[in-house]
Symmetry: C2
Subunit: 230 residues, 2 copies
DNA sequence: TGCGCAGAGTGCAAAAATGCACATAGTGTA
DNA sequence: TACACTATGTGCATTTTTGCACTCTGCGCA
């Protein structure tokens, strides 16, 4: 293996109290919304309920999110941001596909996927919620494009091919989403090591297909050994 | 027994979000201070530590309390406020001494005395902290005087005798404090039912002495049966 | 003695949270 | 249809929290 999936963290300079509070509030709202979704089902609770459960006023809720759906989408956003952060941490000289693979691999972690898995099972039936989930994936695509551009800009003499980048980013996200979809369908919200290993393999396979130009659409499945990829 | 120790609560009209937040912050500060006192001992932590543990800024701490000691004293204040609230709930026509007895009796409750008991054991050695505790008791005395005046004002034709009220309030508080002191000395921070029953009896006895004009300073102790009092 | 420093406490302006009023939209109902 | 009612979303004034820059005091140390 050329590079590890782990990259040394550049140390976080303890955000200001303001930043911490905002992050905590944001998180409290997302948690409250997810709890209510779990307890009452989609459409059976109001913004006021969320605010109350989060310990803030209704007005403050709207200072953070434009709607209930936006609040729930923040769970997905948080999930995807995690991957994005990992992507940014990869060395600039690494092939982008390999960086993407490593970043996506970080998602197969219990703490990370848990809220996402639950949200997925709870929103699958509700078209409105599913739509806002898609928006989150799309937003992440845009972020990846930006991150990729930054990386290319670091490499002297390399020109930015807009189409190439956008197609690549979109494809990578699609592969990630496809892996998640298949995983949910196969394993549900199961977070056992075995299930997570399946997710990992799905992610690897999906990126593998992408890297191979989708050469052999035949079997693939989760049996493909890791060493055969990139 | 003429009247019960329990009085129907007039129902709390859910305070505003602002009120709730302020109360929560106040409580968080007091808890953080008590935790640090427990963990590091008096004098071994700063206002900044408290603020950090409470999840607020140092400046905000000073918006609530003027010093570390004031924050710790709020534990005592909360304890005494509880008794004061009970006092205010008693019917106006009840003899004041009986109201006081009933109010003090409410203090012999595990949830109520727990923080107080711990604070007591932790501050006993520190003169500065003990002083601010005394201030809290004194503050409570003033509050009782106010509450008693309000009660007298409710009774038509009754004149307010300043000296009588002040002497009475001070004496009642002294009796309460004496009972607590003896209890701590006897039982430490023990919160078992047996220990709380001792506290109850001490409170009853102390008020009993007061009601009897301190007639017989002889034995008393915790053996005195309840029915012999008031 | 003088100096550096950590911590207490305060004034002030910027930022965040809140209450409140209002416009709007959907829903059940007489 | 008209009306009451509930919930969303927003504008604005007020209150609270925060960051920052002080001042002041006590303490260790050269």
């Amino acid at each position: 293996m050329i590079s590890s999936d782990e990259v040394p963290q550049p140390a976080a300079p303890t955000p200001s109290r303001r930043e911490q509070n905002k992050a905590a509030t944001r998180q409290a709202i997302a948690d409250a919304a997810l709890n209510l979704l779990r307890g009452k089902g989609p459409g059976n609770f109001t913004v006021e309920d969320i605010a109350e459960a989060a310990g803030i006023s209704r007005r403050t809720f709207f200072n953070y999110f434009s709607s209930t759906e936006a609040a729930l989408a923040s769970v997905t956003n948080g999930f995807l941001d995690h991957a994005l952060r990992q992507f940014r941490l990869r060395p600039a000289e690494e092939p982008i596909l390999e960086s993407a693979r490593a970043a996506l691999m970080q998602l197969a972690d219990p703490m990370t996927v848990a809220p996402m898995a639950e949200l997925f099972t709870l929103t699958q039936q509700n078209s409105s919620l599913v739509r806002s989930e898609l928006e989150a994936w799309d937003h992440c695509t845009e972020q990846i494009i930006i991150a990729a551009k930054e990386r290319v800009a670091k490499t002297p003499g390399a020109a930015i091919d807009e189409l190439y980048l956008r197609a690549l980013a979109g494809s990578v996200i699609s592969c990630g989403k496809a892996a998640m979809d298949v995983w949910f369908a196969q394993c549900g919200a199961d977070l056992s090591p075995a299930s997570l290993s399946v997710l990992r393999q799905l992610l690897i396979d999906a990126i593998g297909h992408l890297g191979a130009g989708f050469a052999s659409p035949a079997h693939s499945s989760t049996a493909t050994p890791f060493k055969d990829r990139l």
